[in-house]
Protein backbone atom coordinates (compact mmCIF):
# COMPACT_ATOMS: atom_id res chain seq x y z
CA UNK A 1 0.00 0.00 0.00
CA UNK A 2 2.83 2.34 0.72
CA UNK A 3 4.66 1.68 -2.50
CA UNK A 4 3.86 2.72 -6.02
CA UNK A 5 5.72 2.45 -9.30
CA UNK A 6 4.76 4.19 -12.49
CA UNK A 7 6.24 3.79 -15.96
CA UNK A 8 6.63 7.09 -17.77
CA UNK A 9 8.02 8.42 -21.02
CA UNK A 10 9.43 11.94 -20.99
CA UNK A 11 10.15 13.88 -24.18
CA UNK A 12 13.69 15.17 -24.69
CA UNK A 13 14.63 18.42 -22.97
CA UNK A 14 11.29 18.76 -21.27
CA UNK A 15 9.92 19.02 -17.75
CA UNK A 16 6.70 17.27 -16.83
CA UNK A 17 4.60 17.25 -13.69
CA UNK A 18 3.42 13.93 -12.32
CA UNK A 19 0.98 13.22 -9.50
CA UNK A 20 1.10 9.78 -7.90
CA UNK A 21 -2.16 8.03 -7.06
CA UNK A 22 -2.86 8.76 -3.37
CA UNK A 23 -1.21 6.25 -1.03
CA UNK A 24 -3.62 4.82 1.55
CA UNK A 25 -2.75 4.57 5.25
CA UNK A 26 -4.97 2.91 7.83
CA UNK A 27 -4.66 4.59 11.21
CA UNK A 28 -1.31 6.25 10.51
CA UNK A 29 0.85 7.29 13.40
CA UNK A 30 0.12 10.98 13.67
CA UNK A 31 2.68 13.74 14.22
CA UNK A 32 1.91 15.69 17.38
CA UNK A 33 3.42 18.88 18.81
CA UNK A 34 5.63 18.68 21.87
CA UNK A 35 3.60 17.60 24.90
CA UNK A 36 0.61 16.22 22.97
CA UNK A 37 2.07 12.93 21.77
CA UNK A 38 4.82 11.43 19.65
CA UNK A 39 6.40 13.14 16.68
CA UNK A 40 5.86 10.15 14.39
CA UNK A 41 7.69 10.56 11.11
CA UNK A 42 7.62 8.46 7.97
CA UNK A 43 10.42 8.41 5.39
CA UNK A 44 9.27 9.14 1.86
CA UNK A 45 11.70 8.09 -0.86
CA UNK A 46 11.19 8.89 -4.53
CA UNK A 47 13.50 7.38 -7.12
CA UNK A 48 13.58 7.49 -10.89
CA UNK A 49 15.22 4.72 -12.91
CA UNK A 50 15.87 5.30 -16.59
CA UNK A 51 15.74 2.38 -19.02
CA UNK A 52 19.23 1.31 -20.14
CA UNK A 53 20.79 3.67 -17.61
CA UNK A 54 19.77 2.77 -14.07
CA UNK A 55 19.01 5.02 -11.14
CA UNK A 56 18.95 8.59 -12.36
CA UNK A 57 17.90 10.53 -9.27
CA UNK A 58 16.68 9.99 -5.73
CA UNK A 59 14.91 12.20 -3.19
CA UNK A 60 13.89 11.54 0.40
CA UNK A 61 12.14 13.50 3.12
CA UNK A 62 10.67 12.87 6.54
CA UNK A 63 6.91 13.28 6.51
CA UNK A 64 4.48 13.66 9.38
CA UNK A 65 0.76 13.04 9.11
CA UNK A 66 -0.89 15.98 10.84
CA UNK A 67 -3.63 18.49 10.25
CA UNK A 68 -3.16 22.03 11.55
CA UNK A 69 -6.06 24.46 11.61
CA UNK A 70 -6.15 28.00 12.93
CA UNK A 71 -8.84 30.65 13.17
CA UNK A 72 -9.17 34.11 14.67
CA UNK A 73 -11.30 34.01 17.81
CA UNK A 74 -13.95 36.73 17.48
CA UNK A 75 -14.21 37.20 21.24
CA UNK A 76 -10.56 37.76 22.00
CA UNK A 77 -9.00 38.55 18.62
CA UNK A 78 -6.45 35.84 19.32
CA UNK A 79 -5.60 32.99 16.98
CA UNK A 80 -6.81 29.55 18.02
CA UNK A 81 -4.95 26.47 16.84
CA UNK A 82 -6.05 22.86 16.51
CA UNK A 83 -3.73 19.99 15.68
CA UNK A 84 -5.29 16.75 14.47
CA UNK A 85 -8.62 18.09 15.64
CA UNK A 86 -7.45 18.75 19.19
CA UNK A 87 -7.28 22.31 20.56
CA UNK A 88 -3.76 23.20 21.61
CA UNK A 89 -2.66 25.76 24.20
CA UNK A 90 0.21 27.42 22.39
CA UNK A 91 3.31 28.23 24.41
CA UNK A 92 5.56 30.05 21.99
CA UNK A 93 9.11 31.31 21.84
CA UNK A 94 10.25 34.20 19.66
CA UNK A 95 13.11 33.39 17.29
CA UNK A 96 15.22 35.64 15.14
CA UNK A 97 18.15 33.43 14.18
CA UNK A 98 20.66 31.17 15.84
CA UNK A 99 23.60 33.54 15.45
CA UNK A 100 24.15 37.06 14.11
CA UNK A 101 27.08 35.92 11.97
CA UNK A 102 24.88 33.19 10.51
CA UNK A 103 27.02 30.37 11.90
CA UNK A 104 24.08 28.05 11.49
CA UNK A 105 25.49 24.62 12.21
CA UNK A 106 23.46 21.45 12.46
CA UNK A 107 24.60 20.98 16.06
CA UNK A 108 23.61 24.50 16.98
CA UNK A 109 20.11 24.07 15.55
CA UNK A 110 19.72 20.72 17.31
CA UNK A 111 20.74 22.16 20.66
CA UNK A 112 18.74 25.38 20.39
CA UNK A 113 15.53 23.67 19.34
CA UNK A 114 15.80 20.84 21.85
CA UNK A 115 16.22 23.56 24.47
CA UNK A 116 12.89 25.09 23.39
CA UNK A 117 11.23 21.66 23.67
CA UNK A 118 12.81 21.08 27.07
CA UNK A 119 11.31 24.40 28.18
CA UNK A 120 7.93 22.86 27.37
CA UNK A 121 7.28 25.21 24.45
CA UNK A 122 5.34 23.94 21.47
CA UNK A 123 5.74 26.77 18.96
CA UNK A 124 8.56 28.94 17.61
CA UNK A 125 7.78 32.15 15.79
CA UNK A 126 10.40 33.18 13.22
CA UNK A 127 10.29 36.97 13.25
CA UNK A 128 9.92 38.84 9.95
CA UNK A 129 13.04 40.94 10.41
CA UNK A 130 15.23 37.83 10.52
CA UNK A 131 15.49 34.75 8.35
CA UNK A 132 13.29 32.33 6.58
CA UNK A 133 14.80 29.53 8.60
CA UNK A 134 16.81 26.76 7.03
CA UNK A 135 15.73 23.14 6.39
CA UNK A 136 17.98 22.01 9.28
CA UNK A 137 16.01 24.25 11.64
CA UNK A 138 12.76 22.73 10.43
CA UNK A 139 14.20 19.23 10.63
CA UNK A 140 14.79 19.59 14.35
CA UNK A 141 11.40 21.24 14.84
CA UNK A 142 9.93 18.14 13.15
CA UNK A 143 11.93 15.91 15.50
CA UNK A 144 11.20 17.80 18.73
CA UNK A 145 7.61 18.81 17.99
CA UNK A 146 7.90 22.57 17.72
CA UNK A 147 5.28 24.14 15.49
CA UNK A 148 6.74 26.97 13.39
CA UNK A 149 5.12 30.34 12.71
CA UNK A 150 7.18 31.63 9.78
CA UNK A 151 6.98 35.30 8.83
CA UNK A 152 8.10 36.85 5.55
CA UNK A 153 10.57 39.74 5.49
CA UNK A 154 8.40 42.76 6.23
CA UNK A 155 8.61 44.76 9.46
CA UNK A 156 6.68 47.87 10.35
CA UNK A 157 9.76 49.52 11.78
CA UNK A 158 11.46 49.48 8.41
CA UNK A 159 8.47 49.40 6.06
CA UNK A 160 6.13 52.21 6.99
CA UNK A 161 7.08 53.42 10.43
CA UNK A 162 10.13 54.99 12.04
CA UNK A 163 11.44 58.52 12.12
CA UNK A 164 11.62 59.71 9.42
CA UNK A 165 8.82 57.54 8.10
CA UNK A 166 10.21 54.69 6.03
CA UNK A 167 8.85 53.48 2.72
CA UNK A 168 5.42 51.93 3.45
CA UNK A 169 5.42 50.15 0.13
CA UNK A 170 7.77 47.41 1.28
CA UNK A 171 10.89 46.48 -0.67
CA UNK A 172 11.52 48.33 -3.92
CA UNK A 173 11.28 45.23 -6.08
CA UNK A 174 7.99 43.46 -5.37
CA UNK A 175 8.57 40.81 -8.02
CA UNK A 176 11.87 39.91 -6.40
CA UNK A 177 10.15 39.60 -3.03
CA UNK A 178 7.63 37.20 -4.51
CA UNK A 179 10.29 35.15 -6.29
CA UNK A 180 12.10 34.75 -2.97
CA UNK A 181 8.84 33.96 -1.15
CA UNK A 182 7.77 31.30 -3.61
CA UNK A 183 11.18 29.66 -3.60
CA UNK A 184 11.17 29.64 0.21
CA UNK A 185 7.73 28.04 0.28
CA UNK A 186 8.94 25.25 -2.01
CA UNK A 187 12.02 24.77 0.17
CA UNK A 188 10.09 24.33 3.42
CA UNK A 189 6.57 23.16 2.55
CA UNK A 190 7.04 19.46 3.28
CA UNK A 191 7.97 19.89 6.96
CA UNK A 192 5.23 18.83 9.37
CA UNK A 193 6.33 21.48 11.88
CA UNK A 194 5.49 24.28 9.45
CA UNK A 195 2.23 25.61 10.90
CA UNK A 196 1.59 29.11 9.63
CA UNK A 197 2.92 31.62 7.09
CA UNK A 198 2.60 35.29 8.04
CA UNK A 199 3.18 38.29 5.74
CA UNK A 200 5.41 40.14 8.16
CA UNK A 201 5.92 41.48 11.65
CA UNK A 202 3.20 43.82 12.94
CA UNK A 203 2.55 44.81 9.37
CA UNK A 204 0.52 43.80 6.37
CA UNK A 205 2.64 43.69 3.22
CA UNK A 206 1.79 46.02 0.31
CA UNK A 207 -1.47 44.97 -1.37
CA UNK A 208 0.04 43.35 -4.43
CA UNK A 209 2.46 41.27 -2.35
CA UNK A 210 -0.20 40.35 0.18
CA UNK A 211 -2.68 39.23 -2.48
CA UNK A 212 -0.02 37.23 -4.33
CA UNK A 213 1.11 35.50 -1.12
CA UNK A 214 -2.49 34.63 -0.21
CA UNK A 215 -3.14 33.26 -3.68
CA UNK A 216 0.02 31.20 -3.71
CA UNK A 217 -0.52 29.78 -0.26
CA UNK A 218 -4.22 28.98 -0.38
CA UNK A 219 -5.36 25.38 -0.39
CA UNK A 220 -5.51 23.80 -3.83
CA UNK A 221 -9.15 23.43 -4.97
CA UNK A 222 -8.62 19.67 -5.25
CA UNK A 223 -8.10 19.43 -1.51
CA UNK A 224 -11.01 21.74 -0.70
CA UNK A 225 -13.28 19.23 -2.41
CA UNK A 226 -11.64 16.26 -0.70
CA UNK A 227 -13.98 16.45 2.26
CA UNK A 228 -12.36 16.29 5.61
CA UNK A 229 -11.73 14.46 8.77
Amino acid sequence: EHLHTQELSIPPGSCIQYTFPPLFFYRPNLWWPNGMGKQSLYTVVITVDVKDYGESDSWSHLFGFRKIESTIDEATGGRLFKVNGEPIFVRGGNWILSDGLLRLSDKRYSTDIKFHADMNLNMIRCWGGGLAERPEFYHYCDIYGLLVWQEFWITGDVDGRGDPISNPNGPLDHDLFLVCAMDTIKLLRNHPSLALWVGGNEQIPPDDINIALKNNLKLHPYFESMGGV
Binding site: H2, L3, T5, Q6, E7, L8, I10, P12, G13, C15, I16, Q17, Y18, L23, F24, Y26, R27, P28, S40, Y42, T43, V44, V45, I46, T47, V48, V50, K51, G54, E55, S56, D57, H61, F63, F65, R66, L97, L101, L102, L104, G128, G129, G130, W153, D157, V158, G162, D163, S166, N167, D173, L176, A181, K186, L187, R189, N190, F223, G227, V229
Partner: protein
Protein backbone atom coordinates in the same frame (compact mmCIF):
# COMPACT_ATOMS: atom_id res chain seq x y z
CA UNK B 1 32.64 7.22 -11.35
CA UNK B 2 30.54 9.85 -9.62
CA UNK B 3 27.55 8.56 -7.70
CA UNK B 4 24.29 10.40 -8.09
CA UNK B 5 23.37 12.68 -5.24
CA UNK B 6 24.59 15.68 -3.30
CA UNK B 7 28.08 16.65 -2.24
CA UNK B 8 28.61 19.68 -0.01
CA UNK B 9 31.35 22.15 -0.87
CA UNK B 10 32.00 23.32 2.68
CA UNK B 11 35.77 23.10 3.02
CA UNK B 12 38.86 24.43 1.30
CA UNK B 13 37.35 27.84 0.58
CA UNK B 14 39.54 30.95 0.58
CA UNK B 15 38.44 34.57 0.30
CA UNK B 16 39.83 38.02 -0.48
CA UNK B 17 38.51 41.58 -0.49
CA UNK B 18 37.63 42.41 -4.10
CA UNK B 19 39.58 45.65 -4.06
CA UNK B 20 42.75 43.72 -3.22
CA UNK B 21 42.45 41.28 -6.12
CA UNK B 22 43.72 42.51 -9.46
CA UNK B 23 42.59 39.48 -11.42
CA UNK B 24 39.15 38.92 -12.88
CA UNK B 25 36.98 35.84 -12.43
CA UNK B 26 38.06 34.28 -15.72
CA UNK B 27 41.73 34.57 -14.77
CA UNK B 28 41.10 33.25 -11.25
CA UNK B 29 39.45 30.15 -12.63
CA UNK B 30 41.81 29.47 -15.51
CA UNK B 31 45.36 30.77 -15.60
CA UNK B 32 45.83 32.40 -12.20
CA UNK B 33 44.13 30.45 -9.40
CA UNK B 34 44.78 32.13 -6.05
CA UNK B 35 47.07 30.82 -3.37
CA UNK B 36 47.50 31.52 0.31
CA UNK B 37 51.14 30.46 0.44
CA UNK B 38 52.48 33.82 -0.71
CA UNK B 39 52.77 36.04 2.40
CA UNK B 40 51.69 39.10 0.45
CA UNK B 41 48.59 37.31 -0.83
CA UNK B 42 45.26 38.91 0.09
CA UNK B 43 43.61 35.48 0.22
CA UNK B 44 42.59 34.11 3.62
CA UNK B 45 40.82 31.00 4.84
CA UNK B 46 37.08 31.47 4.35
CA UNK B 47 33.96 30.38 6.17
CA UNK B 48 31.48 28.91 3.69
CA UNK B 49 28.68 28.77 4.47
CA UNK B 50 29.03 31.97 6.44
CA UNK B 51 29.36 35.72 6.19
CA UNK B 52 32.26 38.01 5.30
CA UNK B 53 32.39 39.10 8.92
CA UNK B 54 32.57 35.44 9.95
CA UNK B 55 35.55 34.97 7.61
CA UNK B 56 37.29 38.08 9.00
CA UNK B 57 36.66 36.86 12.55
CA UNK B 58 38.01 33.39 11.77
CA UNK B 59 41.25 35.02 10.61
CA UNK B 60 41.34 37.31 13.68
CA UNK B 61 41.11 40.38 11.45
CA UNK B 62 38.20 41.73 13.54
CA UNK B 63 37.42 41.17 17.21
CA UNK B 64 34.38 39.08 18.12
CA UNK B 65 31.51 41.55 17.71
CA UNK B 66 29.41 39.80 20.34
CA UNK B 67 31.84 40.38 23.23
CA UNK B 68 31.64 43.63 25.16
CA UNK B 69 31.70 46.68 22.91
CA UNK B 70 33.90 45.02 20.29
CA UNK B 71 31.35 45.72 17.59
CA UNK B 72 32.06 49.43 17.93
CA UNK B 73 35.61 48.86 16.68
CA UNK B 74 34.55 47.17 13.43
CA UNK B 75 34.02 49.53 10.53
CA UNK B 76 30.43 49.76 9.36
CA UNK B 77 29.62 49.27 5.68
CA UNK B 78 28.07 52.76 5.60
CA UNK B 79 31.46 54.24 6.46
CA UNK B 80 33.69 51.83 4.57
CA UNK B 81 31.64 51.65 1.37
CA UNK B 82 30.09 48.52 -0.09
CA UNK B 83 33.32 47.49 -1.84
CA UNK B 84 35.02 46.97 1.54
CA UNK B 85 32.70 44.04 2.24
CA UNK B 86 32.57 42.84 -1.39
CA UNK B 87 34.55 39.61 -1.36
CA UNK B 88 35.82 36.94 -3.69
CA UNK B 89 35.39 33.35 -2.53
CA UNK B 90 37.34 30.55 -4.20
CA UNK B 91 37.54 26.78 -4.00
CA UNK B 92 38.25 23.74 -6.13
CA UNK B 93 36.39 20.48 -6.53
CA UNK B 94 36.63 17.21 -8.43
CA UNK B 95 33.76 15.75 -10.39
CA UNK B 96 34.41 13.16 -13.07
CA UNK B 97 31.06 12.46 -14.70
CA UNK B 98 29.94 9.39 -16.54
CA UNK B 99 28.34 9.69 -19.92
CA UNK B 100 24.73 10.91 -19.62
CA UNK B 101 25.31 12.31 -16.13
CA UNK B 102 24.53 15.92 -15.34
CA UNK B 103 25.72 18.13 -12.52
CA UNK B 104 24.24 21.25 -10.94
CA UNK B 105 26.12 23.74 -8.82
CA UNK B 106 23.67 24.86 -6.12
CA UNK B 107 23.70 27.84 -3.77
CA UNK B 108 20.96 27.52 -1.15
CA UNK B 109 21.24 31.20 -0.23
CA UNK B 110 23.70 34.04 -0.57
CA UNK B 111 23.47 37.70 0.27
CA UNK B 112 22.89 39.69 -1.88
CA UNK B 113 23.98 39.00 -5.49
CA UNK B 114 26.96 37.34 -7.09
CA UNK B 115 29.02 36.55 -10.15
CA UNK B 116 29.99 32.88 -10.37
CA UNK B 117 32.94 31.68 -12.44
CA UNK B 118 33.57 28.00 -13.13
CA UNK B 119 36.64 27.15 -15.19
CA UNK B 120 36.51 30.53 -16.88
CA UNK B 121 32.77 30.57 -17.58
CA UNK B 122 30.66 33.27 -15.96
CA UNK B 123 27.15 32.94 -14.54
CA UNK B 124 25.36 35.89 -12.90
CA UNK B 125 23.30 35.16 -9.80
CA UNK B 126 20.43 37.63 -9.41
CA UNK B 127 19.60 39.59 -6.25
CA UNK B 128 17.76 38.32 -3.19
CA UNK B 129 18.89 36.91 0.15
CA UNK B 130 16.26 34.18 0.39
CA UNK B 131 16.37 32.24 -2.83
CA UNK B 132 18.13 29.21 -4.20
CA UNK B 133 20.32 29.31 -7.29
CA UNK B 134 20.96 26.23 -9.41
CA UNK B 135 23.45 26.26 -12.29
CA UNK B 136 23.84 23.42 -14.79
CA UNK B 137 27.62 23.19 -15.12
CA UNK B 138 27.78 19.83 -16.88
CA UNK B 139 29.34 21.14 -20.04
CA UNK B 140 31.99 23.31 -18.42
CA UNK B 141 33.50 20.87 -15.93
CA UNK B 142 36.92 19.37 -16.45
CA UNK B 143 36.23 15.64 -16.71
CA UNK B 144 39.57 14.53 -15.28
CA UNK B 145 40.88 16.95 -12.79
CA UNK B 146 40.24 19.97 -10.68
CA UNK B 147 37.44 22.40 -11.31
CA UNK B 148 38.03 25.99 -10.26
CA UNK B 149 35.15 27.95 -8.70
CA UNK B 150 35.26 31.66 -7.86
CA UNK B 151 32.31 33.67 -6.54
CA UNK B 152 32.24 37.46 -6.25
CA UNK B 153 29.62 38.30 -3.62
CA UNK B 154 28.11 41.78 -3.45
CA UNK B 155 26.51 43.22 -0.27
CA UNK B 156 22.86 44.38 -0.23
CA UNK B 157 22.15 47.29 -2.57
CA UNK B 158 20.94 49.50 0.29
CA UNK B 159 23.03 48.71 3.38
CA UNK B 160 21.97 52.01 4.99
CA UNK B 161 23.54 54.16 7.65
CA UNK B 162 23.29 53.69 11.39
CA UNK B 163 22.03 56.90 13.04
CA UNK B 164 24.06 58.01 16.11
CA UNK B 165 21.09 57.23 18.34
CA UNK B 166 20.66 53.78 16.77
CA UNK B 167 17.05 52.70 16.48
CA UNK B 168 15.14 49.82 15.00
CA UNK B 169 16.30 49.17 11.47
CA UNK B 170 18.75 52.08 11.44
CA UNK B 171 17.86 54.55 8.71
CA UNK B 172 15.46 51.94 7.22
CA UNK B 173 17.32 51.70 3.89
CA UNK B 174 17.72 47.93 4.25
CA UNK B 175 13.93 47.65 3.90
CA UNK B 176 14.34 48.51 0.22
CA UNK B 177 16.06 45.14 -0.35
CA UNK B 178 14.72 41.59 0.05
CA UNK B 179 17.07 40.79 2.90
CA UNK B 180 17.12 40.37 6.67
CA UNK B 181 16.18 43.69 8.23
CA UNK B 182 17.67 43.27 11.71
CA UNK B 183 21.15 43.89 10.28
CA UNK B 184 20.93 47.65 10.72
CA UNK B 185 20.47 47.05 14.44
CA UNK B 186 17.37 46.59 16.58
CA UNK B 187 16.41 46.88 20.22
CA UNK B 188 17.99 43.46 20.83
CA UNK B 189 20.90 43.59 18.42
CA UNK B 190 23.82 45.79 17.45
CA UNK B 191 24.20 46.59 13.74
CA UNK B 192 25.87 43.85 11.73
CA UNK B 193 28.76 45.63 10.07
CA UNK B 194 28.76 43.65 6.81
CA UNK B 195 24.92 43.35 6.75
CA UNK B 196 25.40 39.57 6.61
CA UNK B 197 27.03 39.68 3.19
CA UNK B 198 28.32 36.29 2.11
CA UNK B 199 27.53 32.77 0.92
CA UNK B 200 25.51 32.19 4.05
CA UNK B 201 23.94 28.78 3.30
CA UNK B 202 25.24 25.55 1.87
CA UNK B 203 26.90 25.16 -1.53
CA UNK B 204 26.57 21.79 -3.20
CA UNK B 205 27.15 19.96 -6.41
CA UNK B 206 24.37 17.55 -7.32
CA UNK B 207 24.84 14.76 -9.84
CA UNK B 208 21.92 13.11 -11.64
CA UNK B 209 21.36 10.89 -14.61
CA UNK B 210 19.26 11.97 -17.59
CA UNK B 211 16.15 12.58 -15.47
CA UNK B 212 16.05 14.85 -12.43
CA UNK B 213 13.41 14.93 -9.68
CA UNK B 214 12.35 18.53 -9.01
CA UNK B 215 10.48 19.95 -5.99
CA UNK B 216 8.27 17.07 -4.82
CA UNK B 217 5.25 18.20 -2.80
CA UNK B 218 3.70 16.03 -0.08
CA UNK B 219 0.18 16.56 1.29
CA UNK B 220 -2.03 14.41 3.50
CA UNK B 221 -5.81 14.15 3.80
CA UNK B 222 -7.79 12.44 6.56
CA UNK B 223 -11.15 10.66 6.84
CA UNK B 224 -13.22 8.92 9.50
CA UNK B 225 -11.71 10.81 12.41
CA UNK B 226 -8.13 10.06 11.35
CA UNK B 227 -8.79 6.33 10.86
CA UNK B 228 -7.96 6.66 7.17
CA UNK B 229 -5.38 8.90 5.60
CA UNK B 230 -4.00 9.47 2.12
CA UNK B 231 -0.61 10.76 1.15
CA UNK B 232 -0.66 12.83 -2.02
CA UNK B 233 2.58 13.48 -3.87
CA UNK B 234 3.26 15.58 -6.93
CA UNK B 235 6.67 16.08 -8.48
CA UNK B 236 8.25 17.56 -11.54
CA UNK B 237 10.58 15.46 -13.68
CA UNK B 238 13.09 17.07 -15.96
CA UNK B 239 14.56 15.12 -18.85
CA UNK B 240 17.89 16.76 -19.57
CA UNK B 241 18.87 14.42 -22.36
CA UNK B 242 18.39 14.93 -26.06
CA UNK B 243 16.27 11.81 -26.45
CA UNK B 244 12.92 10.62 -25.11
CA UNK B 245 13.46 8.47 -22.04
CA UNK B 246 11.41 5.63 -20.68
CA UNK B 247 11.68 5.61 -16.94
CA UNK B 248 10.29 4.02 -13.85
CA UNK B 249 9.18 6.41 -11.12
CA UNK B 250 8.93 4.92 -7.67
CA UNK B 251 7.62 6.17 -4.33
CA UNK B 252 8.05 4.26 -1.10
CA UNK B 253 6.97 5.24 2.40
CA UNK B 254 8.48 3.58 5.45
CA UNK B 255 8.00 4.07 9.15
CA UNK B 256 11.02 4.03 11.41
CA UNK B 257 10.35 1.85 14.39
CA UNK B 258 12.37 1.83 17.56
CA UNK B 259 15.70 -0.01 17.62
CA UNK B 260 16.71 0.73 14.03
CA UNK B 261 13.96 -1.47 12.63
CA UNK B 262 12.12 -0.23 9.60
CA UNK B 263 8.53 -1.09 8.66
CA UNK B 264 7.97 -1.45 4.91
Amino acid sequence: MVEIGKKKLDSGWIAARSTEVDLNGVQLTTTHPPSTTDLSSPWIEAVVPGTVLGTLLKNKLVPDPFYGLNNETIIDIADSGREYYTFWFFTTFQCALLEHQHVDLNFRALNYSAEVYVNGHIRILPKGMFRRHSLDVTDILHPDGQNLLAVLVNPPDHPGKIPPQGGQGGDHEIGKDVAAQYVEGWDWMTPIRDRNTGIWDEVTIFVTGPVKIVEPHLVSTFYDNYERAYLHCTTELENRSAWAVDCSLNIQVTADLEGNFCLV
